[in-house]
């Protein structure tokens, strides 16, 4: 994949990249069972449609605060989470709706949290940036850039301490790589051999600042050398490439308690958040990158190889539409948190004084 700045990548280069992804995917479809492939596709469509609806609800004033959409990056969360088990842990940043759903959280609970309702996954106290679900080991939803990286390192530390074979996936954007938290964590993870997989979702922009304007050395996977940590560069528009790279990292973590850094190069089709006017890049740039939309590429691969029929694609669209509509209905009709909830969950052992 080209390493030039996203504004410089021309239409032809990006189309050629899309074709290359498709060819690579088609050659690997036979190695993966059909149910898994269908499920991956289903999840990608679900997350895309879910967020499109969330954007509408945000514009309609149903969702408040910040709302960071993941549209364009779905191959990363869904490809990687398809490579782990329910018992494994996931921690991520504030751009988290897809990770939450992919890890097994109910779209109803996620949408209700966006709406600030009592039935939300964090009882309406966390919002878009702080989703949690202990049932599926989804440990948030953290909104200080890079803050989740030491936390994930600690979760992995606990797995090794307790002698379990659980692995931890830790997601963050490329801008978090400039934080000390990233470097401190990678150092400890390799020093103590912790089963943590650090997944850098390089979408090329930290809010409105391009990677080129913020990072002295642009190759993130190479930064792993500083900590003697295994690393891979991964094509984030290819859901199967993300899955494969994660499977390799998971094996390393599960069997040998070793960390890995994956730099997954992707692209965000939407603004940094719903309130971002996006003046730092052109509409044309986004449209060029949409030519290698990871869902369209995977759809084409599955269709061209005859893994799924048109009727099956249509059924997934219809099922997802119904599921997303249902999540919206559920969120809309759910009650607001009881005012008494303002004072609960501050302490696990409250002390009366």
């Amino acid at each position: 994949m080209d390493q030039e700045a996203p504004e410089a990548a021309d239409s032809q280069t990006l189309r050629e990249h899309g074709e290359a992804v498709k060819e690579a995917q088609k050659s690997r479809l036979g190695d993966i069972d059909r149910e898994t492939l269908v499920n991956i596709y289903h999840q990608m469509v679900l997350c895309r449609r879910f967020e499109e609806k969330a954007a509408e609800a945000y514009s309609a004033g149903k969702i408040g605060g910040f709302c960071h959409l993941y549209i364009g990056q779905e191959a990363v969360a869904i490809g990687s989470i398809s490579a782990i088990k329910k018992k494994d842990y996931v921690l991520t940043s504030y751009r988290e709706h897809a990770h939450a759903i992919a890890k097994g959280m109910s779209p109803n609970a996620v949408m209700a949290e966006l709406f600030g309702k009592a039935t939300g996954c964090s009882k309406g106290k966390g919002g878009s940036m702080h989703m949690f679900d202990k049932e599926v080991n989804f440990l948030g939803g953290h909104a200080i850039v890079g803050g989740q990286i030491p936390l994930a390192t600690g979760v992995a530390f606990a797995s090794k301490y307790k002698g379990t074979d659980q692995v931890t996936l830790c997601y963050f954007g490329e801008a978090a790589v400039n934080q000390g938290a990233f470097h401190e964590s990678l150092n400890m993870a390799q020093l103590w051999k912790l089963p943590c997989i650090y997944i850098c979702e390089n979408n090329r922009y930290g809010m409105g600042t391009s990677l080129e304007r913020a990072m002295s050395s642009h190759d993130i996977s190479e930064k792993a050398c500083a900590y003697d940590i295994a690393a891979e560069f991964v094509d984030g528009m290819d859901v199967l490439a993300v899955r494969d790279a994660t499977l390799r990292a998971v094996a390393r973590a599960r069997e040998h308690y070793l960390p890995t850094l994956l730099e997954v190069r992707t692209y965000r089709f939407m603004g940094h958040s719903m309130s971002d006017p996006g003046n730092y890049r052109t509409r044309a740039e986004i449209e060029r990158h949409q030519e290698r939309d990871p869902i369209k590429l995977f759809h084409a691969s599955l269709k061209e190889e005859g893994v799924m029929s048109d009727a099956e694609f249509e059924k997934i669209e219809a099922d997802v539409k119904e599921q997303v509509e249902e999540s919206l209905r559920f969120a809309d009709e759910s009650p607001l948190p009881d005012p008494k909830e303002l004072y609960t969950d501050v302490y696990a052992n409250p002390i009366e004084v």
């Binding site: 106290k125 966390g126 803050g147 390192t153 600690g154 979760v155 964590s185 609960t344």
Partner: protein, 327 residues
């Protein structure tokens, strides 16, 4: 009861709690092979092994956050800051992660963690190593803040802090590590968090003091006794939650209050205590509440200047005489 130093009392608390619960581990700079920068963790590596007593790189934000993550996954970390001055690098993880996790997860993830180490002034270690940071941490809901002043309190409170299911900031005082006192050797000896202790009973004035100021306040009370003034000395022991009831009860008896603290006065704990007294016992006061705080400058190095920056026995005596209208 055996007489031990504060350092040994803290060591006993760590040792006993680690024996009691294998999910407790200790992590920090120089805690293992070096036996602790102040020897609080002496012998723990030998008894409990390198899995549970872990030397870290100098990476405070990193290992504080690692501790919070480990607590999310069911462990009970004790994170030592070589001094609390270095916790400033870790405040993002203490405040943004540890303090808020239970709330923002809707009650799903509590963080049973202790951040401990010495705070306040030491002996001529200058500005960056002589800070009393309790008011920073006590500001935030979701955290508990503990500051012991005797070896027995240090042991009993640290054991309670380790057993507590919430994040606890446990601030020791470097100048006090060698102080001696009677300490129970019963492994089930604990002191509950959130309960103040009347260190000396009196009837004419109340001195509220914490940490290093407690022995200084007690000396001031001795001097004042000679002058015919009977002082009650109250140590809140836990700053958050604050046992204000015990303080108010004393104020209603003595009608005069001095609050002594090593930290700066501005936005400090003494200001909070003074305001609580104003709200709850204004009509009982015979004089305005008087604060005796650390001087409002960065801590200087020179020995004479350093002494001037920390509240003294004489200052507390003068403050009590002032609220008693004796001069």
């Amino acid at each position: 009861m055996p007489v031990v130093t504060m350092r040994e009392a803290l060591n006993q608390a760590l040792r006993e709690e680690m024996r009691r619960d294998e999910n407790v581990f200790l992590m920090g700079e120089e805690v293992a092979e070096y036996q602790g920068a102040y020897k609080v963790t002496k012998g723990l590596l030998e008894e409990l092994g390198p899995k549970r007593v872990i030397d870290t790189p100098i990476t405070e934000l990193g290992f504080a956050g690692l501790g919070v993550g480990a607590a999310m996954a069911g462990l009970r970390p004790v994170i030592e800051f070589m001094t609390f001055n270095f916790s400033i690098l870790a405040t993002d993880q203490i405040i943004n992660s540890a303090a808020k996790m239970l709330y923002m997860s809707g009650g799903q993830y509590n963080i049973p963690i202790v951040f401990r180490g010495p705070g306040g002034s030491a002996f001529q270690v200058s500005s960056q190593h002589s800070q009393a940071l309790e008011s920073w941490f006590a500001h935030f809901p979701g955290i508990k803040v503990v500051m012991p002043s005797t070896p027995a309190d240090a042991k009993g409170l640290l054991k309670s802090a380790i057993r507590d299911d919430d994040p606890v900031i446990f601030i020791e005082q470097e100048r006090m590590y060698g102080n001696k006192g009677e300490v129970s050797d019963d492994p089930e000896f604990t002191i509950p968090l959130g309960v103040a202790d009347v260190k000396r009973e009196g009837k004419d004035a109340t001195i509220v003091a914490r940490s290093l100021m407690v022995p200084i306040a007690l000396k001031a009370a001795d001097v004042l006794e000679q002058q015919g003034v009977s002082c009650e000395v109250i140590d809140p022991r836990t700053i958050r939650p604050l046992d204000i009831k015990t303080i108010i009860k004393s104020v209603k008896k003595t009608n005069r209050v001095v609050v002594a603290e090593e930290s700066h006065a501005f936005c400090g704990v003494a200001a909070e205590i003074s305001q609580e007294i104003a709200e709850q016992a204004f009509d009982y006061l015979d004089a305005p509440v008087k604060r005796v705080s650390g001087v409002d400058v960065p801590m200087p190095y020179a020995k004479n200047l350093e002494q001037l920056a920390i509240p003294s026995v004489d200052q507390i005596v003068a403050a009590v005489r002032e609220v008693a209208y004796l001069d």
